[in-house]
């Protein structure tokens, strides 16, 4: 009960932790302004930007700068909403939602003009008040679903969806046939839904 009182002094952020969380907030501000130079000023020279699901790592301003340019080019209205932040020592964990409209090629994927909203969780390491690494976790399948390139989860888990997956695993030869059946089933059920 008195735990929080007893340790009130240590539950507050240290000066360095204050600086660290301020740097991350500042970086998010620059990100939302699409200010690449500003973002790079928040990074250590050896900064590593790692998109875990993309298995893509960018190091230093020379690699991160062009990557950010391509990101803002692909999503001209990109916006990060920081929803939660936890700081401890040299680590900052940031939880945020990435929103944007996919208007140009990104990772080889041509514009879908789809609006995406992706929850992300980042483990950030700091050095001397600058970001040294950012390991970002999110779900690529969700992005493809929102871009209309993968079926929604309820379709995947519907009987024809499951049949398609079963075929994909058991006999890849039958997959196109069952895939066509699944598409037909979805189309029919949509039509039925639309009529009622």
């Amino acid at each position: 009960m008195s735990e929080t009182k007893l340790h009130a002094d240590t539950s507050a952020l240290t000066e360095a932790e204050d600086v660290n969380s301020a740097t991350v907030r500042q970086m998010v501000g620059y990100l939302n302004a699409h200010n690449v130079a500003g973002m790079l000023s928040c990074f250590d020279d050896e900064m590593e930007w790692l998109d875990v699901p993309m298995e893509a790592s960018y190091r230093g301003a020379a690699q991160i700068g062009p990557f950010l340019d391509s990101l803002f080019d692909a999503f001209p209205n990109l916006d990060y909403e920081l929803t939660h932040m936890v700081t401890r020592g040299d680590s900052v964990v940031a939880q945020f939602r990435m929103r944007g409209t996919h208007q140009n090629t990104f990772y080889g994927l041509p514009a879908t003009n789809a609006a995406v909203e992706i929850p992300c969780l980042s483990m950030i390491t700091m050095r001397n008040g600058k970001m040294l690494s950012d390991h970002c976790y999110f779900d690529n399948a969700m992005i493809l679903r929102q871009m209309g390139l993968m079926p929604p989860l309820d379709v995947t888990l519907s009987p024809p969806g499951r049949a398609f997956l079963w075929a994909a695993v058991k006999g890849k030869r039958m997959a196109p046939l069952l895939g066509a059946a699944a598409v037909a089933w979805i189309a029919l059920s949509r039509l039925r839904k639309g009529r009622s």
Partner: protein, 186 residues
């Protein structure tokens, strides 16, 4: 700046929370469903980001864990890094296992999967009350050999396939719009 202390002593609560998240791993790695659940508060809210599912209460968490342990009977949960602050613990982890049962609608592929992920947990009285669970479902599909490797998107046929995929989606949307337009116009 570097002269400033970066870490201060953890509070009793933070130490206890770190112990909890460590202790529960023993039960994960024995696939001991009830053992894992004993670390969850009755009011647990578990957000499974990739599956777009929310489990409220132990009963719903049990359903998910039963499916997960059923799909990967040799499941291993390794936490590689974690931090604690107040009621929060954030963890970076790997789940590894052999896919021997249905998962995300996909029947056993007998493939080894390695799922990197991250969690933001909140604890109360040494038990999980909230867990936001992030992983990449597309990576799981790659491990199950149901998706090509990411590097394919950098090859000419890969890029062509992506272009066809996007064009196909536009075509479907266009036809769909037309069909709906005609139906609406009737």
């Amino acid at each position: 700046l570097s002269d400033l202390p970066t870490t201060l002593e953890l509070t009793e609560t933070e130490l206890r929370n770190l112990r909890t998240v460590t202790d529960v791993l023993t039960y994960w790695n024995r696939q001991d469903l009830e053992g894992v659940l004993s670390y969850y508060d009755e009011s647990i809210t578990w957000l499974n980001i990739a599956l777009e599912e929310t489990y409220r209460g132990k009963a719903e968490v049990r359903v998910f864990l039963r499916k997960l342990f059923g799909a990967f009977p040799d499941l291993n949960f390794e936490v590689t890094y974690k931090i604690a602050r107040g009621d929060n613990v954030a963890e970076q982890w790997f789940i590894r296992g052999t896919h021997l049962g249905t998962f995300m609608g996909i029947p056993a592929t007998h493939n080894r999967v390695e799922i990197p992920g991250m969690s933001m947990a909140e604890l109360r009285d040494g038990k999980f009350v909230s867990d936001h669970f992030y992983f990449d479902a597309l990576g799981v599909l790659r491990d199950m050999a149901l998706m090509p490797p990411l590097s394919v998107s950098e090859t000419l046929p890969g890029r062509y396939a992506l272009r066809v995929g996007v064009a196909g989606r536009r075509l479907v949307n266009g036809v769909w719009g037309l069909v709906n337009g005609l139906r609406g116009g009737r």
